[in-house]
Symmetry: C2
Subunit: 420 residues, 2 copies
């Protein structure tokens, strides 16, 4: 008997018919002799509708009250799914984040899980019933208030619950049938990856592939939770993401190509080339509350000992960081700050890369042949990312996908983004 | 400084604009130097929409899961109201039934409150903040599951919280401006009652006046909670319902006329006139799960020693009770069971009645003059109820209203029913 955690996103439970479909899938899994714990998101657009309501009564929809409001969405979907399963002859009970023992810090809107005490869930599973848990929510352990986990929250709930229950597998059901070598809307010849290691999945997720949220993948990696990404609406096995070490598998050199056009580039020009200056600049950036991604420093070769520092960050953080830097311009002593919202990032990811030299050379040659200029480069052991013009990103992705021989013989189905 | 509990029904918080209006009223009350605890129902039709969703996934929408589902409605309205108050410069926190310490028995869908430990509410009030509580919900103390209180649940939450907090007053805000001497849709000359004692209010509520739920009034009576029934959308003081004994007031002979056309009459014909037979019949009725209201037994004067027993009960219980009686006909030994769905009940209520003889005589004379036949009669110390034809109920109400000199000089505004 296996213990399986199944996560269904908002599009999978968008209406009564879809909830009944999910109920049948859950019952099938239980009838196959598994213990089943289900994590659900809010139905379809429920969360957006609640946000709209909040925006219509306040200009500052956040904090404790906003979290209580948003948590209502998952309570509705989880209880409806339990009612549907019970109606079909299955046995299910639903639990809020609090009832499931998911405690977090007190950072409303983006709380981090710090402990799970799933006693009630274990009890229900041992009695042979299905446990359904509201995704995206927990509770602040100190004051017993509802918290929400922010973007990717339901994926994170599922993976964290799988870790806490020591589950054999965490299945992520969505409206696409697995992880692809690239976004099929950009690269029609992208093909599905049947197996991928968690390190590569993490690099893909954090490089812009939207199928799984980075935070959930990090959690799975840290706690060695195997994932299966698959479609709610087919029996296809999807993509298996293995976190536990396996020796029986040859790792592919490159698993996929991810793209991200949601970043901006900021360049600080004429920075005095003295020790500690970069540290001062990034302290200002960090205090402005921005998460930066790539950094490049061009050390000056002229006699004036000035260098330029460029970095990328989400569009939404750009204005406040530029302002923060301008406010500190005289203290920091740089000449000028510029920004560029029209950049695109392309990443090649693969666990086999670290033992196969020449991957970066092949990438740069392919881009050069296509006249794509590389503006920034950053690398990890299993990833190479380059920044180009946003307008060239799609073309560059198709070229790189071909160069690494990832093209399928047939055109892939087009897939859409996933919910939270 | 007074401590005031304010309850706002579903029509008072039906949309964002109305929620903002309620927020302003709450802030006004707090700015007048009061400690304010607010109880809210779900927005407008939210509860009905959730019930529709449940009906679309199951034929048996009840129990634990149904209660979790329905409780989402009040979570949404309470957090939106808190956001609105905070946006306007007030300070408010919202609390679920669980967080407010409202524990109940485990009867899902119609749980009874058995204890309130409002520690968090007291703390918030003492800090000068407004405490907002989800109406209609509590938690099963043994297993920490969400329960709902059934019809009139939010009124009951408000009154119970007022008792637990030892509040000075419980204000029930609704879409009508108070308690009337009769339903103004039936009796255009009905006038508003400015003050009424809780005993009369209880008789009015249980005789069909829909403005307050019987259960909430019973709670207020038992715990001596003074109520004020008033409109959300005007500054009018409405009707003051006093539960604490007052000596400074002359009690009116008759406070109002209530009507109820939602009952059926069942008559069991030819019941053997031997001791214990009525007890057997009403055991069968009770086991069928019906609440009966009036009972009349006509002892037979013929030699066959058979009597007839008539009683009234809600339309919705009639079919199952008739069936239960037929199933037991041979054991009970009666001749026949008949029913009548076309009855109407009229009640005259007033605390002064007990010290003023002749009220019933005046009532019967008025009905006789109008050719209204009386089919059943029941009385309490402060109420006389009669059953007539449903088709004659409105006319009878107007006649009785006039006979007791309740008619206002001007036509009353028409009022509508209230939410839960």
């Amino acid at each position: 008997m296996s213990l399986i955690v199944q996560k269904f996103g908002g599009s999978s439970v968008a209406d009564a018919e879809k909830i009944k479909h999910v109920a049948r899938r859950v019952i099938e899994c239980a009838n196959d002799g598994n213990q089943v714990c289900v994590v659900v998101s809010a139905m379809g657009d429920t969360t957006d509708e609640l946000i709209d309501l909040a925006n219509s009564v306040t200009d500052t929809p956040r904090g404790r009250e906003m979290d209580i409001l948003l948590s209502a969405g998952e309570r509705i979907s989880m209880s409806l799914l339990a009612l549907a399963i019970n109606d079909m002859g299955g046995k299910a009970k639903s639990f809020t984040g609090f009832q499931a023992g998911i405690s977090t810090d007190s950072k409303h809107g983006e709380a981090r899980i710090f402990d799970i005490k799933p006693e009630r869930i274990k009890e229900v599973l041992e009695q042979g019933e299905v446990a359904i848990i509201a995704g995206f929510q927990g509770f602040d352990a100190t004051v017993k208030d509802v918290t929400t986990l922010g973007r990717g929250g339901s994926d994170t709930t599922a993976v964290a619950m799988a870790a806490a229950l020591n589950a054999d597998l965490c299945e992520i059901y969505t409206d696409v049938d697995g992880v692809y070598t690239a976004d099929p809307r950009v690269v029609p010849r992208a093909h599905r990856v049947f197996e991928i290691d968690i390190d590569s999945m993490l690099e893909l997720a954090s490089s812009g592939a939207k199928i799984l949220h980075t935070r959930a993948v990090e959690f799975a990696r840290r706690h060695q939770v195997d994932l299966q990404v698959r479609s709610t609406f087919s029996q296809d096995p999807g993509t298996y993401v293995y976190s536990k070490k396996r020796d029986d598998m040859e790792e592919p050199i490159v698993s996929g190509v991810a793209t991200d056009d949601t970043q901006s580039k900021i360049t600080v020009i004429g920075v005095p080339d003295i020790p500690g200056k970069a540290g001062e600049i990034f302290s200002v950036v960090s205090e402005a509350g921005a998460n930066i991604d790539m950094i490049v420093q061009n050390v000056s070769t002229t006699e004036d000992h000035l260098s330029d520092i460029s970095f990328t960050l989400p569009h939404s953080d750009r204005a406040k960081v530029v302002q923060a830097l301008k406010d500190q311009q005289s203290e920091l002593g740089f000449a000028q700050v510029t920004y560029d919202d029209e950049i695109g990032k392309l990443s090649v990811v693969g666990a086999g890369m670290k033992t196969h030299p020449g991957v970066s050379a092949k990438l740069f040659r392919a881009l050069a042949r296509a006249n794509v200029n590389i503006e920034m480069i950053s690398t990890s052991e299993i990833r190479i990312s380059v920044v180009t013009r946003a307008s060239q990103l799609k073309e560059a992705t198709r070229i790189v996908h071909s160069a690494f021989e990832l093209d399928a013989e047939q055109t892939a189905v087009v897939y859409a983004g996933t919910g939270r």
